[in-house]
Symmetry: D2
Subunit: 309 residues, 4 copies
């Protein structure tokens, strides 16, 4: 099962669970995988930024990948984050992931790339080194990478690299960028990419209306993401937004840079998906005020979900 | 009427209205001032970043200030943004603003300041040059300035500069920062500043709960900001959040960097507060898709406000 | 006398002299203009970043321009820095400069431009607003602006804007960029721009060898820049480098970001070109150690110049 | 042999040699180690940024360390770069390095640290996790990390972490910072750190005069760095600067960000220290023009060294 440009729905970016003392918790990872699949994930993404991949040893990364792939057992495609400062490490991670059964790899431009020409050349070199059979997700996340690219650059990369089948769209602001990308496919006949949106889903309804195919993000209530996508597909946009808006206070809370991961893991823990909310150092921790604040937000969410019926 | 650390409520950051051809529209500015005051502003801030101040000529800036001060006629304090790469320009702008009747000036650290020591020394030099009688608002907005400062630095600046009476708090994430600032006043006895929050009010309920005194932002429905503050003061936090949540989709929409100002001006135009939504070049423009999307968000807001009763 | 793409030699970026108390010193500006012309300047650039332009009032900027133009009296072209966050201010500054007798204007991309497409569109809009008769210098200085552009983007801007006649080249590293730009003129037939290099002349010999037409920078010994260019034109590259290398310790010293301007003004003062080395606040000041260090470097320079004969 | 604050002289930052096809070349690494020691290195630093450490697999990093330690055989201290996004990886790398015979570890602040308080807390946490017996070099390299810290912050870190014995000083501009650091030791009695300077040695004479204890950098002629330090110690400052100035054109050439490493490896190859100048992808490559330019600079260097006698 290889990723292609027809991918749709919700690819959940998986958290990486640890014990309270920071050891990898593979039992929780299995439970978390079940949690995501039961709540409507049409795909999973592991070893992304949100998965604390840079804080894992190579052995731990391999264990995460094997555990998830075994648990998923082919039910949905699994994308693997392989961004790396070294090209050869990126390639060997990718090859090993694909050999293990991954559906594709996700790659963000390196922070050291200064011009868009450099970004285009980088992806051309990466794809050439990977070989044409490895499906690639281009992650466009300037707030994190510091690398800004225009629609023309995305199109140039896609033209040079047919194996790029998906855009993880998390530029901000990015609504108009998404519309211009889709307009290019109609107007200029550029190749259509699957576009899944990130940024915690903060603009999901607007992005679906502008042509996104779904979301690739780690919001701790993936069933909402899945249901919003389903309602959009069914033409029930207002109901989709009603549901989305109920979650928006918590989505906004989770999109706080850095801190968001600690909040997200705490929510996953409270929902029973993982045993510990531990984030590896250096990383944020929630204090008593943060915890109480989160309780308030979750209580309000539950209450409003009941009102929604 | 000088600003002091007891300031509370909603200081609306005023937009600067132009005609469709980009001329300053002072009649709209008068109408907009009325609009803000009628909707509960307890203060106004003019010539801020959101007010397109860097795109105004000195004569236009003076006209904006005079027009607003005349229209306000002493009913609420008016804060004037005076950030400037040159110290002498900053001082002369401040003196002229205070002479005209402003309540205080707002200053952000320059992007060229690299260390927190430099930031502290900068504010010490600025306040010394201003003289002790000019009340100052410290604007902490790292997403825009690129200058990050810790709580200890804010406290050091406040200790060196007694005329700093207010913090415009728009670090992101900033919730814990706000709590630590307030804890310092209790625990270490640091001087209490008025804290008004920015970022379009995106975290207003959480920030009020953590000790903020209100908001200084330009969200195009200032009556909501005022009512949320009022309900919090009255102990009705859940009702405050109910109201806030109804507005959150649009608040989120307005906080898109750069683009947000065009959205905000369009909302103000649709609400009858200004004649044209023109943003001076270089600046964003809304296209047909953006306009339709905004219509959808405003319609949903109206509908949900009615449901709220 | 309008700037065109045949411009060559040394365009000195003029400092703006102040008195010790920070007032504009027009008498020193006249003396400084003479100093530059007597030492081989083939052009002058005023109101650039190094000229502390953002710290001047509009009246002061006008006085600087008028004074320099009057003193130059048409002997060499004068370029005027007009970068400005507002398009209308940029245009009115440019028109007034050209009406006063300037040879062209210099414009850097705004720091708020994130993608190269935005940079291209910005220059297209600026040139359209200026009208086709205003010669423009494109300043490519990423270390200061944070905006990185590729050769393809420079070529796209030049193709859209025939009035762009010169590139101020101060990307770093930028040697290969310069070669690729020149190769495009031969290989792909792109329009030839005059290329003058910045960065204090730190790579001047290498850049002349790669096709630069000269330098546009403010090094306090402009006679060296002029002589190096002359020797290169005469085919005496080794002698050019011999002279350049003697100056390199001081050039390197002057290229320290921020601090460099204070050093440069102090050298100009010691050489009798201006009355005071004052830099407007906020800005760097030399302390006793800095002064002694500079004395040592200048003494060594004098000694080695004598050895060179 | 553990690093302490009495460290002086030249700690050469070792390149990591590869074959032309990008394989680790341990034979060249042994030859390079000999090259450095024969040319006056008083210490070595391996696995730094310049050593392409982020592009090595864990097995390769271990091989580099073992090879260098075996070759050095205790003659000089070896410092190991261990900066890592994950705390536990940093600690395990450090422990393994120390167990193998390293003299200390070098750590730069993570790019994700936004305030100086966060930097202080980070080093406190790191040192606590390392245990008090691991000597630490604090690398202050803002141009690369984006993290700017003031003298007060360096002092705070040193006060909290007695095991920090050395500052790798490569802020730019940094001359005044160095003087203020040294003044604190005299005036305020702060603990004295060994200070070795980086930035390719671009300001070495000025920094030695201001109190630096030597250099930690990778300039491809380490014998010059050693001799300049020796001459300074012997009170022969002018002769030291005479020698330094002869090398300055090439030093400047090597300090070009990114590209410099390719130049440095090419010089090392031409000097017979390594077999291939290969830089791992993604990384810069020298083309024919770059090669010829370098030949010219090296020829001039040789000629001037002969003139110097």
């Amino acid at each position: 099962m290889l990723l292609d440009s027809s991918a749709r729905g919700v690819y959940v970016i998986s958290a990486t669970p640890f014990t309270d003392t920071g050891e990898l918790d593979l039992a929780s990872l299995e439970a978390l995988t079940d949690f995501y699949l039961e709540r409507g994930a049409t795909g999973l993404t592991v070893l992304g930024m949100m998965g604390e991949a840079p804080k894992l040893s190579p052995e731990e990364s391999a264990a995460v990948l094997e555990t998830v792939l075994a648990r998923v057992a082919g039910r949905v495609p699994v994308v693997v984050g392989v961004s790396n400062p070294g090209m050869s490490a990126l390639v060997s991670l990718s090859q090993s992931a694909m050999a293990s059964g991954a559906a594709g790899v996700m790659i963000a431009p390196l922070a050291s790339l200064k011009t868009e020409e450099q970004v285009i050349n980088y992806f051309a070199a990466v794809c050439s080194a990977l070989g044409p059979d490895v499906p690639v997700v281009l992650q466009d996340f300037p707030l994190s990478t510091g690398v800004y690219i225009s629609v023309a650059t995305i199109e140039a990369i896609a033209a040079k690299c047919p194996q790029i089948v998906m855009l993880k769209h998390e530029d901000w602001p990015g609504l108009s960028k998404l519309s211009r990308l889709r307009a290019g496919e109609t107007g200029r006949g550029t190749r259509r990419l699957s576009v899944l949106v990130g940024n915690g889903g903060l603009f999901l309804p607007q992005e679906l209306a502008r042509g996104a195919d779904g979301a690739m993000t780690g919001y701790a209530y993936p069933e909402m993401l899945a249901e919003v996508c389903r309602l959009f597909d069914a033409g029930e946009r207002e109901r989709a937004e009603d549901l989305f808006d109920v979650h928006l206070p918590l989505i906004r809370h989770e999109t706080q840079p850095g801190l968001g991961l600690a909040i997200r893991k705490e929510v996953l823990k409270r929902r029973g998906a993982i045993a510990s909310a531990h984030v590896r150092a250096p990383g944020p921790k929630l204090d008593g005020i943060d915890q109480a604040e989160l309780t308030g937000l979750m209580n309000r969410l539950e209450k409003r979900l009941q009102q929604l019926g």
